[in-house]
């Protein structure tokens, strides 16, 4: 890379010259590549300690009589610098001779380089990352052997506590890893930790490790210290770890995408950071906080913020606060907490105009004001904007970018819903199924409605109402039933989701109802178990609406599908909201308010369980110890949180909690829970066992009452009244309203997510290990190591969302490339020239459903067989892997082999080829299916692979597999799943045709290549088998030969064939002795060249050397260790 010519004086201080010409010198930095010795060590240290990180190669320009040198090019790699060097030779050197003076030469060179730079710069202005950053990025990848697509986010100078010695070095934070590198006087410390392995991140300040960041993994603890910007570093570490956890929770977001959009958005406010990604992450974080604060759809991106005032007409005041601008919204929040909050969807904006001098005299002179008018003819006045023109410009720019179909809501009227598809969305069910109200309660409700009408007359109605302190007081008192639907939608932000996704609900319902899924079955079972006490759900109208909402959501979000408790929540929503609105409220709860709560592992609820535990510890320390002892937290949090108290409190009380929950978010659940625990503190402290404590809480919860609404349950109350719901809520705000904030909870969730996900992964791993051990092939410690290798390998792949796992190991899914990487690294079978072929064939053997994916078990069995199986099992597996139809003819010719491999195969084939008329099939069209397997994993051509007609019976792929893998714990892929592995127990493999057999033989040669004795044995057995095959082929052939071969075979050893217990225990001998031995010959007198499994096994095992060879038990631990060292460097010093 050319650089602006720069004068330097000392040429050789830290550099070695590789080449020198009259005018140019090519240098390499000491400590790079070849040179060793003290000075190069020193340079390495300097480079590592200082932030200079010079590129290791450079070209200098010099003139013979000058002491001044100019750096004109630098590069990270030798080829790069060589390229520049060559260019100089071709383009510059010839010209230089024409100059008279050295000054002219120098001037020319500098000019030339500068001009190249000038043109290059135009091309590279798009390049986001600075040059130094690129150097570091390069070093990062080299040092830690990172795959190319691993992205470095940021790097920091810090020290690592190695024992009691701090080591000065660099911390590198990338998307998937946290690394540390230090190199001081020849002592290297290198640490590489996956974010996904981190169980705890904390800032500590102990005597031993002052002012440090602690990183805990399952393997140990690491302490880092002496950060320049500790808080920034820590925040970034937390964010990255959190992204890794989210990926583990939610397979969908498997890969991390840079959001270029975000970068340009925030460029005005964010200072230059070394990495593009870092800026992206910063922006992401800000956007998250922003969407959380205003309950906006999660993908909303913050554009910028601005200090200003908002004029509130209801009290005629200017309120200082901050205006937030994003692609679809203008939001405002007052500086005084909860004073006023406002959201204006841009699509409602009708007009933006500059207003002159913002109305009242209190403004400081020439403050810029803008007036925003919405389609509903409401105006909002912002004042004291420092850069008004910019803001107006920005807003109009955003307006212009709005997609046309959602532009301007005024045109959209509620379309008359056609009931073409046999359903109509229901209005709020309470309007259809009125509950009887006594007159005092009716009066209370009417009074509340009046209060709200008055309030909304002042602050407006709908999305853009001013959310004020007065409003929140009204919410705490309980929203009147009639207004619940509307206000819930506004407060929760679900109204925005609904507006952005017009018509989606209807489409989802139509599609969901016509498909049959497991989720739908589960939903069906729970429809009558949702809110059975309400009349609406004793009737088909309510039940059908509930079915539509739940099925549509299961379809919309397959990550969640259907989780019990959603039915209960949804049924309450349907009481108060029109159907579509209820759907969007449910979506908002599942995705924004209670993230991950309802997913397949209920992760979110477990995370919040941890959060609750921590909050209890902080606020109610003595109670925490007691509850911990009783194991209570785990019991209460699930039912309380997942159903928003609906299943534990009387219905008419739980809805009041929901009022606040939609207004204030998840914090409400926590503060109410803490309050309930606190109120019952004395009783709880006296409990001696969990049942007793549960009883205390149940009695209390059931006794909560609401005098302002009708009880739903018609049965007389049995529980003693305990507290008015309004009072409970009020008390919860008073005690914890300010100490438990949503930001606080979000922060704690981050911390506990690490732990919960780790636990889930651990238990998944434990279950997987337990299942894999049942195959009795690999040892436990091998399996453990293997799993961790698999995890490492899978990190780079997109995870496939799986609906339901039949077995724990199914969640580790390897495609062919991943399988190959591990199998080739670990199995002794994949060491020779046929490695690729064997691997591909074993893969197909293990790929039960032909989908190009095998589970962890597939790999463990394939590996296990190759190192631990008894000789017969190993040979059987090899045989099956080569038998049709599993190995179709077209796959016979190796495609990916090395040259020598091809030769070897050819050798083996020609060696045994006795001038037969049979022609080896041409490669070409035959090359497909291995490549199919290797490639994108499209299912293979069924027609070709289903069955094979060799021999009298049809052999299916399944039966061949079952035969090859006979002896496993439970026949096939899944225990008890019948089908796949069935095939009558052991399964059966067809006799091998000649070509298939030759392939198998070639593979056997390959396996035994390094062991002359064994190799001989293979050759011997191979010859016998080929003769046998011939014999099967041409029974009319001279008896002599056949007899000979038989004697040979028999003489070698009385074969005691240890066959598997699954039935194939037929002795091969009698079969061969008969003139018409193999089954194929009985039906086809002409005969086909073939070798049966029995013949193969008998002949092979009659060679002691072979039997011994295939009985050798090899540990794969050394290979695993090698793999590990290659993949992850663990603090090497």
């Amino acid at each position: 890379m050319w650089v602006k010519p720069q004068e330097i004086f000392i040429k050789t201080a830290l550099w070695d010259s590789d080449e020198t010409t009259l005018y140019f010198v090519l240098q390499r930095r000491k400590g790079h590549g070849k040179s060793k010795g003290f000075s190069s060590l020193l340079v390495g240290t300097l480079d590592s300690v200082r932030d200079t990180k010079p590129a290791p190669y450079r070209i200098l320009h010099q003139t013979p009589n000058s002491e001044v040198y100019y750096v004109i090019a630098t590069a990270l790699t030798e080829p790069e610098i060589r390229q520049d060097w060559q260019w100089l030779f071709d383009n510059v050197c010839p010209t230089l001779h024409s100059f008279d003076t050295e000054e002219e030469v120098t001037e020319f060179v500098c000019c030339k380089i500068n001009s190249i730079l000038a043109t290059e710069q135009e091309i590279f202005t798009e390049d986001e990352d600075s040059v130094t950053y690129k150097n570091v990025d390069y070093e990062f990848h080299e040092r830690f052997r990172m795959p190319k697509d691993e992205k470095l986010v940021c790097y920091y100078s810090c020290s690592y506590w190695k024992g009691k010695m701090p080591r000065q070095g660099w911390m590198y934070l990338s998307v998937h890893y946290m690394c540390f590198y230090s190199y001081i006087f020849g002592r290297k410390t290198s640490i590489k930790i996956r974010w996904a392995d981190v169980t705890e991140l904390a800032k500590t300040n102990s005597l031993l490790f002052p002012d440090s960041i602690k990183v805990v993994t399952r393997d140990g603890e690491h302490y880092f210290t002496l950060f320049l910007r500790k808080n920034e570093t820590f925040a970034l570490m937390q964010q990255l770890a959190n992204i890794a956890m989210k990926q583990l929770i939610d397979d969908k977001s498997g890969s991390f995408n840079i959001d270029k959009d975000l970068l340009t958005k925030l460029s005005k406010n964010v200072p230059k950071k070394p990495s593009f990604l870092k800026r992206d992450l910063d922006a992401r974080k800000q956007s998250n906080l922003f969407t959380l604060r205003f309950r906006l759809p999660q993908n909303e991106k913050l554009d910028g913020t601005e200090e200003c005032t908002l004029w509130t007409p209801y009290n005629k005041r200017h309120n200082w606060g901050r205006l937030y601008l994003s692609q679809n919204f203008i939001c405002f929040e007052s500086r005084v907490r909860n004073l006023v909050r406002l959201i204006i969807p841009l699509r409602n904006v009708h007009q933006v105009e500059r207003a002159d001098s913002g109305g009242t005299g209190s403004s400081s002179g020439d403050s810029g004001s803008i007036l925003i008018t919405t389609a509903h003819h409401t105006s909002f006045l912002f004042g004291n904007i420092s850069d008004r023109d910019f803001l107006v410009h920005k807003i109009s720019e955003l307006l212009a970018k709005l997609p046309n179909d959602v532009y301007r809501e005024k045109a959209t009227k509620v379309l008359a819903q056609s009931d073409v598809d046999g359903w109509t969305p229901q209005p709020p069910l309470m309007t259809l199924f009125r509950t009887h109200q006594t007159s005092p309660i009716k009066q209370i409700q009417q009074k509340k409605e009046k209060q709200w009408e008055d309030h909304m007359a002042e602050v407006g109605r709908g999305v853009s109402m001013y959310q004020t302190t007065e409003g929140s007081e009204l919410v705490v008192n309980g929203i009147p039933e009639l207004l619940r639907g509307e206000l819930w939608s506004v407060f929760s932000g679900s109204i925005l989701q609904k507006a952005q996704n017009k018509g989606l609900y209807e489409r989802l319902v139509n599609k969901a109802l016509s498909t049959k899924t497991q989720a739908n079955d589960e939903i069906e079972r729970d429809l009558h178990r949702s809110l059975p006490e309400h009349r609406a759900f004793q009737n088909d109208v309510g039940i059908s609406a509930l079915r539509r909402v739940l099925c549509a959501y299961a379809l919309k979000n397959p990550q969640i599908g259907y989780c019990q408790a959603m039915n209960i929540v949804a049924s309450v929503l349907l009481i108060y909201c029109p159907e579509e609105q209820a759907f969007w409220l449910l979506a908002t709860i599942c995705e924004t308010l209670l993230p991950d709560y309802y997913n397949t592992r209920v992760v979110g609820a477990l995370v919040d369980q941890g959060v609750l535990e921590e909050l209890t510890e902080v606020h109610l320390p003595e109670l925490h110890a007691k509850l911990d002892e009783l194991g209570m937290m785990k019991m209460i949090s699930l039912s309380w949180f997942l159903t928003l108290f609906i299943s534990v409190m009387p219905y008419e009380c739980a809805v009041n909690v929901m009022d606040c929950f939609f207004y204030d978010g998840a914090k409400v659940i926590f503060q109410v829970t803490l309050t309930i625990l606190d109120i019952n503190r004395e009783k709880l402290l006296k409990c001696t066992e969990d049942g007793q404590a549960m009883q205390v809480l149940n009695d209390y919860l059931q006794g909560i009452y609401n005098e302002e609404a009708m009880a739903l349950s018609t049965e007389p109350r049995t529980a003693e009244k305990t507290i008015k719901i309004q009072e409970l809520i009020y008390q919860s705000y008073r005690s914890y309203g300010s100490s438990v904030s949503n930001e606080n909870i979000e922060h704690l969730r981050l911390k506990h997510r690490l732990r919960v996900v780790r636990q889930l992964e651990d238990s998944l791993e434990k279950n997987t290990l337990r299942a894999l051990q049942q195959d009795k092939l690999l040892e436990l410690n091998e399996l453990q190591e293997l799993l961790s290798a698999i995890r490492e390998e899978l990190l780079w792949a997109k995870r496939v969302p799986c609906e339901r796992l039949e077995a724990p190991y199914e969640s580790y899914r390897l495609d062919y490339t991943q399988f190959k990487t591990l199998f080739c690294a670990l199995s002794p079978w994949a060491k020779g020239d046929f490695a690729e072929a064997i691997t591909a064939r074993m893969f197909k053997l293990m790929d039960y459903d032909d989908d190009g994916i095998v589970s962890a078990r597939g790999l463990s069995v394939a590996l296990g067989l190759s190192v631990r199986g008894e000789a017969a099992r190993r040979l059987r597996a090899l045989y099956a892997a080569h038998a049709p139809p599993l190995l179709p003819r077209r796959d016979l010719m190796p495609t990916h082999f090395t040259d020598t491999g091809e030769e070897l195969a050819a050798d083996a084939i020609s060696f045994f080829d006795s001038a037969d008329d049979e022609v080896i099939p041409e490669p070409g069209p035959l090359q497909r299916s291995i490549s199919e397997v290797c490639g994108d994993g499209t299912p293979m051509d069924k027609s070709d692979s289903e069955t094979s007609q060799i021999g009298p019976t049809y052999f299916t792929v399944e039966s061949v597999r079952a035969c090859g893998l006979a002896g496993l714990a439970s026949g096939a892929s899944t225990p008890g799943a019948g089908g796949a592995g069935g095939a009558g127990g052991g399964g059966a493999a067809p006799p091998l045709p000649r070509d298939h057999f030759l392939q198998l033989l070639a593979v056997l040669h390959d396996l035994t290549q390094s062991r002359p004795q064994v190799y001989e044995a293979v050759v011997l057995a191979g010859t016998l088998l080929l003769q046998l095959g011939e014999l099967n082929h041409r029974p009319q052939l001279d008896r002599e030969i056949s007899q000979d071969s038989l004697f040979l075979a028999a003489a070698a050893k009385q074969p005691e064939v240890q066959l598997d217990p699954n039935g194939n225990t037929t002795e091969p001998e009698p079969e061969i002795r008969k003139p018409s031995p193999s089954p194929s010959k009985e039906t086809e007198p002409e005969g086909v060249w073939s070798i049966t499994l029995e013949q193969f096994l008998a002949t092979m095992l009659s060679q002691p050397a072979l039997e011994e060879f295939f009985n050798e038990k090899v540990s794969i631990l050394p290979e695993l260790e090698l793999l590990r060292q290659r993949d992850r460097l663990q603090s090497v010093s």
Partner: protein, 208 residues
């Protein structure tokens, strides 16, 4: 805990979603059937005093959530269980097939001292329905193969065999309890070890 003569039996009811766990519990405790139960989230429990061999015993019956995604969260409720009731729906073969996994999961998570002899009881519920799909013989056979677990065919709706089944549950749990009292003299630490041993042994057994 060790000093207390335990007159309290903790019983856990497990089984797939919708097999009638809540109904069975309510039929036994409250002697009534209702089709107005909400799906159980987390867990719920009821207590009832029963007389077993002239001894008054309090049964604390824990009813759990059946959906698969909650299965691994049961550990909090399992601890200290004296008996485990596995329920399936005789009209739904799948619920019968899952018994094995419920049983395994329970043993893993609760890790009782003596997993081989931990008292289980199997209930085939909903025999009042016509569309029966799991025969009594098949269920019986499975129970026999699992160390002779007692098996009852019940109907929570019509109160068939419910009382009898829970009597057996109480009796078996109590028998286990008497045996376990021996252990109660040991301090807690040793109990932990005993659990660990139990788990290991279980692991070995599973492999066959």
């Amino acid at each position: 805990m060790s000093s207390r003569k335990k007159a309290l039996l903790k019983v856990i009811i497990l089984g797939d979603s919708g097999v009638g766990k809540t109904s069975l519990m309510n039929q036994f405790v409250n002697k009534k059937f209702s089709n107005q139960y909400k799906a159980t989230i987390g867990a719920d429990f009821l207590t009832k005093e029963v007389i077993v061999d002239d001894r008054i015993v309090t049964m604390q019956i824990w009813d759990t959530a059946g959906q698969e995604r909650f299965q691994s969260l049961g550990v909090a409720f399992y601890r200290g269980a004296d008996c485990c009731v596995l329920v399936f729906d005789v009209t739904a073969p799948n619920t019968f097939k899952s018994l094995e996994s419920w049983r395994d999961e329970f043993l893993i998570q609760a890790s009782p001292r003596d997993p081989d002899n931990f008292p289980f009881v199997i209930l085939g519920n909903k025999i009042d329905l016509d569309n029966r799909a799991v025969s009594a013989k098949r269920a019986q056979q499975w129970c026999q193969s699992k160390n002779d677990i007692p098996y009852f065919e019940t109907s929570a709706k019509e109160a068939v065999n419910v009382e009898l089944a829970f009597q057996t549950i109480a009796r078996n749990a109590l028998a286990q309890e008497t045996e376990a009292e021996l252990y109660n003299e040991f301090p807690d630490q040793i109990k932990l070890n005993a659990n660990d041993n139990g788990r290991n042994r279980d692991g070995d057994n599973c492999a066959c």
